[in-house]
C-alpha cells in the first residue's frame, strides 16, 4: 500500500503550471491592493490569500519547505489584513512584492532542479514585523489549559443539572481522554470527543470547556463529566470513533467522591474501578490507541479496472511539446496521404473505372479532410490569449516607474486577443523592452510634463488587436516623442552615419535610425533587463517570427511602437453570413449589431445608400456588389435586407448581406501568394463541412467608405 507518493516529473509540471497561475494572480492582486490602498476590496485580499494558501499546500506536498514556510507567513499577514487588523501600507505592499519575487525564485528552483541561493530571512522578518504590529501571532503554542488540572468544583448550576439528570435515571460518568501528541489538530479531536459524548448524553462540565476547545485552547487531554442513559460500553464505542484520542479514564461518576477537585490519585482509582466485562478495561491502559486507520484491512480489488470520472473538469493541461509532436505527426500524415494519392493516380490509369480505385478515391478525399481538421484543431490548441503575457507587465512598469521616480498610468487592452503559443513566447522580451523604453525614455519627468502642460502622470498603453491579416501589439506613450534632429545628432556622434548622410535623411527616416545596431544601448537598459540589448535586437527578434515593428512619433506628443505579428494561426470568433450562396465570416470583434431593415427605409445621401439608426447616419455597403458577385438570373431584391453594422475606430458602416448563418470560431488561413492581397478580404477559413469561407477585413471595408462617411455626417446635421 501507499506506493504512489513519490514525485514524478508530471507532478512537477502540473505544480509549476499552477504555481505560475497563482503567482500571476497574486501579482495582479497585490497591484490592485496598492492602487486601492485606502479602500481595499476584500475580494482582492481574499484572492491573494487564496493563492498563498494553495501554494502553501502544494509546495508542502512537493517538499519545498522554504516555500511552504514563506507562503504560510504571508497567509498570516494577509489574514490580519483580511480581518482589518493591519491596513494596506507601502511597506506592506513592498513586502508582499518581495515575497512574490522570492516565490518566483523558488518556482524556478523547482523548475530547474538547481537550488538557488535565496535567503528568506529578511522577508520573513518583514512579514513577522507586519504580523507583530497588533496582537499575538499564529496560535502556535497551545494554551496550557488542560494539563494535569483535575475536574474543577461544580458550580451550583452544574450541580443542579447533574442532580436533575440523575433524578431522571441518567447515569453520570467521568472521563479523561488523552489527545495524541501526534495529532495534527488536537483541538478538533477534542471537539469531536465532546460532540460524540453530547450526541448520546449531556455534558455537565469539561476541561477545557467547549468554548476553549473551539478557540484552539487545548492541552494534552480532555476531562469530562457527563450524564447519559447509555451504557458505559456505548460511551466507549462512540469515543473510540474519534481518531487520535486515547481513553484513559471512563468510569461512573462516584457520588460518594467529593464532586470537587478529585486529585490524580482518585483518577487512578477511577481507572482501576472501570467496570469489569466492559470494553473500557482495555482503554484504561492509558497507552495511546493506534490511530484508527493505521492498520486498515488489507487492500481489496487492487489492480482491478479503475475508472476515473472527471465530469467537473473541461480543460486539461498539455505540454507544448506534445502539441508540437502531434503537429509533426499530422504533417507526416499529410505526406503519406499524398503518396497514396499518387498510387491512386497510377491505379486509375492502369485499371480505369475499377471499383476499388473509386473506393480508394473517396476514402482519400475523406482522409484529406480529416487530416485538415486534425491540423486545424492542433493549431487551435496552440493558441493562447496574450493575457498570460500581458499580466506580467503591470508589475514591471510599476517597478521601473518607481525606480525612475515617474508616475505612470499603465493601461492594457485587448488581453483576450489570441496568438500562437510560440509567438507569445518569443514576443515577451521585445515587448518588455519597448515598454521599458517608453517609461525610461518616452515619458518625461513630472516637472517636464507639467511645464509642457501635460498631466504629471504619464500614460503608457499596451494594446493588442486584429488588423487585417495580422495581430498588432501597440506600445504607446504620451511622452516627449522622438526628435529627428536629436536622433541625427546622436547617430552621427555614435559613428553610425556620416553627418552628411544624416542631413539627407527625411525626418521619418531619421527616426528609424533608432533601429540601427549600436544606437540604443543605454546603461540603464542593461541594468533593468539584465542583458544589454538595444532596439536593434528587439527588431531582429520580432522579424525572426515573421513580424515587423515600426515607430510612429510626434515630438511633444508621444511615441507608438507597432509590432505587427503574423496571424497565420490566429483564430477569431466570427459572424457567418451568406452572400450569393457562399459563406463569409465577419470578425465578431467589429460587429456592433445585426438588423433586418425594410428596403423602404434606405435613404440615399450623395449617391450613397444610408440608413439612420438612433439618429446616426450609417452608410451601407452592398457586399455582393462590392465583390462583383453575379446574381443568378431572375434575382429579385427582397423587401427586407440583412444589415450587419460594423465599426472600426468608432466609424460605422452597414454591410448588406443575404442572410445570417450564425457565429463560431474560425481559424484564419492566408489566401496564399497566388491570390495576393485583396482589399476587403483578410483570409479564408475551412468550415466544418469542408467548404471554404472568406474572412472579411472590416477595417479596409470601412476605409473604403470612410471618406464619404465623414462628409455624410455633416450633411445629416
Amino acid at each position: 500500500m501507499g506506493s504512489g507518493f513519490d514525485i514524478t516529473a508530471e507532478d512537477i509540471r502540473v505544480f509549476l503550471d499552477e504555481a505560475e497561475e497563482l503567482l500571476q494572480a497574486m501579482e495582479a492582486g497585490i497591484l490592485r491592493l496598492e492602487s486601492e490602498a485606502s479602500d481595499p476590496d476584500p475580494e482582492v485580499i481574499q484572492d491573494i490569500f487564496r493563492a498563498a494558501h494553495t501554494l502553501k499546500g502544494s509546495s508542502a506536498t512537493l517538499g519545498h519547505q522554504s516555500m511552504a514556510e514563506l507562503t504560510h507567513a504571508m497567509e498570516n499577514v494577509l489574514d490580519r489584513l483580511r480581518k482589518g487588523k493591519v491596513s494596506v501600507t507601502t511597506p506592506l505592499v513592498d513586502t508582499l512584492f518581495r515575497c512574490l519575487d522570492v516565490l518566483k525564485i523558488f518556482k524556478d528552483e523547482i523548475a530547474t532542479g538547481e537550488p538557488a541561493a535565496v535567503n528568506t530571512d529578511e522577508v520573513m522578518r518583514e512579514l513577522a514585523a507586519l504580523e507583530g504590529t497588533a496582537d499575538s501571532a499564529e496560535p502556535a503554542a497551545p494554551a496550557p489549559a488542560g494539563g494535569d488540572v483535575a475536574l474543577p468544583a461544580l458550580t451550583p448550576e452544574q450541580q443542579a443539572k447533574l442532580e436533575q439528570a440523575q433524578a431522571r435515571g441518567l447515569k453520570a460518568y467521568q472521563a479523561q481522554v488523552a489527545l495524541s501528541p501526534e495529532a495534527a489538530m488536537p483541538a478538533v479531536r477534542a471537539f469531536q470527543a465532546l460532540l460524540a459524548v453530547a450526541d448520546i448524553g449531556q455534558i455537565v462540565l469539561s476541561v477545557p470547556t467547549q468554548e476553549e476547545v473551539e478557540n484552539d485552547q487545548v492541552g494534552a487531554d480532555l476531562k469530562l463529566l457527563f450524564v447519559t442513559g447509555e451504557s458505559v460500553e456505548k460511551v466507549h464505542e462512540v469515543l473510540r470513533e474519534v481518531p487520535e484520542i486515547a481513553i484513559q479514564v471512563l468510569a461512573p461518576y462516584q457520588p460518594s467522591l467529593p464532586a470537587a477537585t478529585p486529585g490524580p490519585a482518585e483518577e487512578v482509582a477511577a481507572a482501576a474501578m472501570a467496570p469489569p466485562a466492559s470494553g473500557a478495561a482495555q482503554a484504561a491502559t492509558g497507552a495511546p490507541q493506534p490511530a484508527p486507520g493505521a492498520a486498515p484491512p488489507a487492500e481489496s480489488n487492487s489492480g482491478g479496472p479503475v475508472r476515473t470520472t472527471r465530469s467537473g473538469l473541461r480543460t486539461v493541461r498539455v505540454d507544448v511539446e506534445v502539441l508540437d509532436n502531434l503537429m509533426n505527426t499530422v504533417g507526416e500524415l499529410v505526406i503519406e496521404r499524398t503518396r497514396l494519392q499518387q498510387v491512386l493516380s497510377r491505379l486509375e490509369v492502369e485499371r480505369e473505372g475499377d471499383e476499388l480505385s473509386q473506393v480508394m478515391s473517396s476514402a482519400l478525399a475523406q482522409l484529406g479532410r480529416l487530416t485538415g481538421n486534425l491540423q486545424e484543431e492542433i493549431q487551435r490548441a496552440r493558441m493562447l490569449p496574450v493575457e498570460n503575457l500581458f499580466r506580467k507587465f503591470p508589475r514591471m512598469i510599476r517597478d521601473i516607474a518607481h525606480k525612475a521616480g515617474k508616475e505612470i498610468n499603465f493601461i492594457v487592452r485587448g488581453e483576450e486577443t489570441e496568438l500562437d503559443r510560440s509567438v507569445i513566447e518569443e514576443i515577451g522580451d521585445p515587448l518588455m523592452h519597448l515598454l521599458r523604453n517608453a517609461v525610461d525614455h518616452g515619458i518625461e519627468s513630472a516637472e517636464e510634463r507639467l511645464a509642457a502642460g501635460k498631466p504629471a502622470a504619464g500614460t503608457v498603453i499596451l494594446e493588442a488587436f486584429h488588423e487585417e491579416n495580422h495581430i498588432i501589439i501597440s506600445v504607446r506613450d504620451d511622452g516627449r516623442g522622438v526628435d529627428p534632429e536629436k536622433i541625427r545628432a546622436s547617430a552621427v556622434r555614435k559613428g553610425i552615419i556620416s553627418e552628411e548622410a544624416a542631413r539627407r535623411l527625411s525626418d521619418p527616416e531619421a527616426v528609424n535610425l533608432i533601429w540601427a545596431p549600436g544606437f540604443s544601448t543605454k546603461q540603464e537598459v542593461s541594468e533593468v533587463s539584465g542583458r544589454g540589448v538595444g532596439l536593434d535586437v528587439v527588431q531582429k527578434n520580432i522579424e525572426r517570427i515573421n513580424g515587423s515593428v515600426e515607430i510612429r512619433s510626434t515630438v511633444g506628443q508621444g511615441t507608438e511602437f507597432r509590432v505587427k505579428l503574423p496571424l497565420t494561426l490566429a483564430i477569431i470568433r466570427a459572424l457567418q453570413v451568406e452572400l450569393v450562396g457562399t459563406t463569409y465570416c465577419i470578425p465578431l470583434g467589429s460587429v456592433v449589431e445585426t438588423d433586418r431593415i425594410p428596403t423602404s427605409e434606405i435613404q440615399t445621401v450623395r449617391q450613397r445608400e444610408v440608413i439612420v439608426k438612433r439618429g446616426e447616419v450609417i452608410p451601407l455597403l452592398r457586399l455582393a456588389e462590392a465583390f462583383g458577385l453575379q446574381r443568378p438570373e431572375g434575382y429579385e431584391e427582397p423587401e427586407e435586407i440583412f444589415v450587419v453594422i460594423v465599426a472600426v475606430m468608432g466609424r460605422q458602416i452597414g454591410l448588406v448581406v443575404d442572410s445570417l448563418i450564425g457565429e463560431g470560431d474560425v481559424v484564419i488561413k492566408p489566401l496564399g501568394r497566388f491570390i495576393g492581397e485583396i482589399p476587403g478580404i483578410s483570409g479564408a477559413t475551412i468550415m466544418g463541412d469542408g467548404d471554404v469561407a472568406i474572412i472579411l477585413d472590416v477595417s479596409s471595408l470601412v476605409d473604403s467608405v470612410q471618406g464619404e462617411a465623414g462628409r455624410l455626417e455633416t450633411v445629416a446635421q
Partner: protein, 119 residues
C-alpha cells in the same frame, strides 16, 4: 467500487489525491469549488466527499452544510491545511465527519477514506 468526490480548487492537490485513490481502487470525481461540489454530490452520489476548506465561489464549510442539508447521511471529510483548526471545528459542526491534513500522507488519507467507506 466506492465513489469519492474530491473537492479542491488546487489542480495539483486534486491530481495527486485522485491518483492515489484510483490506484487504490476508488472511483474518483473532482469538483473545483463548493458550489460545483453540491451539484456533483447530487449527480454523482459519492460514498464520501473529500472537501477542501478554502476555495473560491463557495468554501468547503458552506458546501458541507448544504450537502448535509440535501443528504443528512452524507459523509464529508475535510481536507485542511495546518492552522485551520477553528475552521475544521466549524466544518465538523456543519456535519463533517473527520479531517485530513494537507500535505497529507498517503497512508493517512487512505486510512481515513477506508474508515468511512469500509470495503
Amino acid at each position: 467500487m466506492p465513489k469519492i468526490l474530491l473537492v479542491d480548487d488546487a489542480a495539483f492537490m486534486r491530481m495527486r489525491c485522485s491518483k492515489l485513490l484510483t490506484e487504490h481502487g476508488f472511483e474518483v470525481a473532482e469538483a473545483e469549488n463548493g458550489q460545483e461540489a453540491i451539484a456533483m454530490y447530487q449527480s454523482y452520489q459519492p460514498d464520501l466527499v473529500l472537501m477542501d476548506i478554502t476555495m473560491p465561489v463557495m468554501d468547503g464549510i458552506t458546501a458541507t452544510r448544504e450537502i448535509k442539508n440535501i443528504d443528512p447521511d452524507a459523509k464529508v471529510v475535510m481536507v485542511s491545511a495546518l492552522g485551520q483548526q477553528t475552521m475544521v471545528i466549524e466544518a465538523i459542526k456543519a456535519g463533517a465527519k473527520d479531517f485530513v491534513v494537507k500535505p497529507f500522507e498517503p497512508e493517512k488519507i487512505l486510512a481515513t477514506v477506508r474508515k468511512f467507506v469500509g470495503e
